[in-house]
Amino acid sequence: MSVPTPTVMRPAPDDADEAPPSGPPAAKRRREPLPYILVVPSLLALGVLFGYPVFLLFRMSFQQLGFGELVQRLTIWIGFDNYTEILGDSEFWQVVGRTVAFTAVCVALTMALGTGIGLLLVRLGKKMRIAVSASLVIAWAVPIITATTLFQWLFDVNYGVVNWFLGTPKHDWFATGLSTFGVIVTVIVWQAVPFVAFTVQAGVLSIPEEYYEAARMDGAGPVRAFREITLPILRPILAVLTFLSTIWDFKVFAQVWAIRQGGPDEQTITLPLYLYDVGIASKQYGLAAAGAVVMVLILAVGMVFYLRHMLKTELDS
């Protein structure tokens, strides 16, 4: 049997929920214990290893919990004090603003380049398409920490090839926060574009050729065919990709940390680094927990629209 192909990517029709699933008809009518037994291990794992930490995070965001309290096993409830402190901290809001801007730039670049390359892939001849795909796969496969090390080297002040290429000898790309962010964004986009490009390509390939034939018979040119056939079909795919990219980029820690540990002068500190700094490095566990809860809320608020859309299409299958 073949694996699920991208042709199944269009949202399922609304009545799909009523349609019988592919399971044996006899099996689904009877009340059976088997499906419950099958989901128990995953529920147990998620409950213990995910639910409990989430609960703890929430609980300790209302506690005064530093290293001292932890060692002495003290539980000091302080209500919303952690939240007032972190929300009243101007540095926190600066970090939030920076993280949002950084995420927006990463997502916009990733989506624009990824969609463009995805559409390009469909138009290329076979050899060229294989060459482009291969280069994308390589960028995709390089592990994150390897990629950051590699881009540190490409942008190195003394022997970096970028300086040679641009004719800017000894230019220090890591001297200012903005330019350091430039390098970080480049690393992230370099690794994120392939997934978007391949998914868009798969989406375009799933459109039946007859649609275009019909459009041509109606006298539509390539531009109109693109606007009225390709784009509407791609729209849900692009929405999901934007959604996923936003989540990934908002939370990114490894690349930002590994490039300059938030430097220079703490100018590239994003939310995950800030939480690491408050929580692990400064041992203010309660305060950092409140910050983490706020981070999740920001992400959730930003995602409500997408989430509703996704839950609707996902669960109607």
Partner: protein, 280 residues
Amino acid sequence: MKLVQAPRKLRRAGPNALALLVIFFFAFPAYWMLRTAFLPTLDIQSDPPVFFPTDPTFDHFVTAVERPGFWIYVRNSLFVTLSAVALSTVTALLAAVAVARFRFRGRKAYLVLILAVQLAPFEALFIPYFLVFRQFDLLDRLPALILVYFVSILPFTIWTLRGFVAAVPAELEEAAMVDGCTRWQAFRRVVLPLLGPGLVATSIFGFITAWNEYLYAFVFMRNEDNYTLPVWLATFRTAFGDDWGGAMAGSVLFTLPVLIFFLIVQRRMVGGLTAGAVKG
């Protein structure tokens, strides 16, 4: 697509030029990593840069591999990654069969839960994990990483495998059961072999995610003997100055297994990813 009627060569001139640019942007950094890894140290620090190693050397690979701890970190990374993948694949397969083959009360709620966890920021959870592991004396031990990686790749694995299970026609199972197989035999002899590609694709994805993970390994593993390869690689350069040859050789070694797996399953993985991410 046959939208434009111009001659083939001409029609492709524009796209081909763009394609070359794309190839340059995506392949060049990786090429530069390779060439630096094989270049003698003196050639690495030259102006203008040497573009092709005429006199390639394996010295940097030898330095990287002979660095104290390298093989320990390889072992740690393999142990942690493979354990997490094995745990999540088995757990996810059971769950995937349940949601793909049965309609049961609570199925929707379960799927919402899986989606929600998939979106949860593990990057915001390291403080409670830190405290829990501290309490159970797991803080500086590899099993802590196995547990975190297991649960962080589990939802995705369930979600994707579900698509693969649903793609195997239930009629096959029924036919086997009519022929006298028990349900378990029908599953093991008929369905499981057909799930092979799906299991491979999802476990490769889990493998790459865990193999790559940095934050938790960095925060929890304090003792150098418990480092994983990403942590080792990130501290490599700060510890040994500007040894770019060594750093790039280490990077190549760290990339190689992923790249090999990737090339084997790439096509299947895209299908699985899109099916899991977009389709129900």
